[in-house]
């Protein structure tokens, strides 16, 4: 596995920011995830880590941290991680989406702008695998990479005050799902009936950074069924194990 140069910056009294080269790349993400695994194996209590694309924010919840000491610990850990093979398990999740006009309120407009038929648009959106480069912004919101160029479309000029929970959208180089109702400026092309964040579960978010997502077109009837199944807790999206 390729190892990249990293830089470490202080981030207030209790956190450091570790940065990899500023690119959206699967091999960089893999190096970050390998580092996290190696760091977790040190079993130092109090650390909380979150990934976003090429960076890792490391927060120390126990006490104030000594930057020099922490920096050395991180560099040593990163230098040593290549020696132990990774045991990371990653999944490919199939996420159902209903692209009917009822949910995909912008799908007609998007298909016109992109010069694709609605069918072609759905076909392209569902035929790619998207890498989860981070989870943040809102609980359960995934930053997905790997959108084909043909589906790149600017944000709406005016954001909506309310976008429905589960809305699947396109904006710039990104596609994603709104995990809750929120304001937003993405172009909405469908809706996913499966909640991406459920605080009642031991693992409130089933997807992990490094996993992959593939969307699957479903009918309105399947949507209604999955929605009820998800609410009573018997529906789980299909997954396949990918090797790290």
């Amino acid at each position: 596995m390729k190892s990249y140069p990293i830089s470490i910056k202080p981030f207030g009294e209790r956190a450091v920011l570790v940065e990899w080269p500023s690119e959206v790349k699967e091999s960089i993400l893999a190096d970050i995830l390998d580092f996290m695994e190696a760091f977790k194996a040190l079993k130092i209590p109090g650390w909380e880590m979150s990934v976003a694309y090429n960076s890792l924010t490391m927060v120390y919840n126990n006490d104030h941290l000594d930057f020099e000491e922490t920096q050395k610990m991180i560099l040593d850990c990163h230098a040593g991680q290549a020696k132990s093979p990774s045991n990371r398990v990653q999944h490919l999740w199939t996420i159902p989406v209903c692209y009917d006009q009822e949910f995909g309120i912008d799908i007609q407009e998007v298909s016109k702008t992109l010069n694709l038929s609605v069918e072609e648009l759905i076909q392209q959106h569902t035929s790619h695998q998207y890498v989860v480069y981070g989870i943040g912004f809102l609980p359960g919101f995934m930053y997905l990479g790997g959108l084909p160029q043909s589906l790149e479309i600017p944000r709406r000029s005016e954001p909506r005050l309310q976008v429905a929970k589960g809305s699947v959208g396109l904006a710039g180089k990104q596609t994603g799902i709104y995990p809750q109702e929120s304001p937003g400026g993405w172009n909405i092309i469908g809706n996913c009936p499966v909640p991406l964040f459920n605080p009642g579960l031991k693992e409130p978010c089933f997807v992990k950074v490094g996993d992959k997502i593939q969307f699957n077109k479903i009918s309105k009837a399947e949507y209604d069924l999955h929605k009820i199944e998800a609410e009573v807790g018997i529906y789980k999206p299909a997954k396949v194990v990918l090797h790290a």
Binding site: G12, S50, L56, I135, P139, P199, C205
Partner: protein, 279 residues
């Protein structure tokens, strides 16, 4: 139960926050002015993390149905028990039927009501701090009942102290943020010579400041943010993330408030002024 007869402007249950879930986008939440909460809990002999009521700007009217002990801290909102004034950092014994109510805001913005043993609302993901969609509700409503533990035997070690209000400070201590080096000389002099004003866009998620500094066109990949992170938008606006703030953001993080200064800012309201001081 503590019955909320009238809920006031914005009253929530908070402890010191929800840790361990930032990797799935859950903000830390917790009391905005953690210092005031820790001190009140200390006087009551509570765990520092015991849940309190965070009372923003105007106070609720509350009625106790069991005897216990309480302690107020943070902003001064002319609190009374059965119309008898009570002070901050004073351990007060209350009994069944007593009514705690608030009057005029004198200083600060967020007052705290700590109770012996802490409020006993449901813990979700390790914390009682209210934040939707983690908790079902985002604030206390009229008629709601908040559970607490009856106590008649507590003997406080110190029953009253005079503590200076840290939040009357008019400067915020800041560290360099991860993108500090992107700042131009003009932006730097703007940040460290101007006086900034809290705009009407201020809440538990973020404080936006009224004054602009020089605009910029730096773009960066989305990266982690923390409570106290000062973001600079392309238009030159400063946005300071607070306890319910998002866990990631795409604007340059130019400064990071000290933990003490987060508490100070939490007590500032629309129109209040302050300056930044680099540590």
């Amino acid at each position: 139960m503590l019955k909320v007869l009238k809920s006031g402007f914005f009253v929530t249950i908070q402890d010191l926050g929800r840790y361990g879930y930032r990797d799935i986008g859950v903000p830390v939440s917790g009391a905005m002015d953690a210092d005031s909460v820790k001190k009140a809990n200390l006087l009551l002999g509570n765990d520092p993390n015991a849940a309190v009521m965070e009372i923003t700007m105007t106070g609720p009217t509350l009625q106790f149905d069991e005897p216990t002990f309480i302690c107020l801290s943070g902003a001064h909102i002319s609190a009374t028990v059965n119309n008898r004034p009570i002070e901050n950092y004073q351990v007060v014994q209350v009994t069944k039927g007593d009514i705690l109510s608030y009057g005029k805001l004198q200083n600060g913005f967020r007052a705290y009501l700590a109770i012996k043993g802490g409020f006993q609302t449901e813990k979700v993901l390790g914390s009682r701090s209210q934040f939707v969609p983690v908790t079902k509700t985002k604030r206390l409503k009229d008629g709601e009942e908040v559970p607490y533990i009856k106590n008649i035997s507590f003997k406080p070690l110190i029953s009253e102290v005079k503590i200076d209000d840290h939040f009357l400070e008019n400067h915020l201590d800041v560290y360099k943020g991860p993108e500090f080096e992107l700042l131009s000389d003009m932006q730097l002099s703007g940040i460290f010579t101007k006086t900034f004003t809290v705009s009407k866009e201020n809440n538990r998620m973020a404080y936006q400041l009224s004054e602009l500094i020089e605009s910029h066109s730096h773009s960066m990949l989305t990266s982690g943010t923390l409570p106290g992170t000062v973001q600079l938008t392309p238009a030159g606006r400063l946005i300071i993330l607070m306890k319910d703030g998002q866990t990631t953001g795409g604007y340059p993080r130019i400064l990071q408030l000290s933990e003490e200064s987060i508490c100070t800012l939490a007590q500032k309201k629309l129109g209040d002024k302050f300056s930044f001081k680099l540590l």
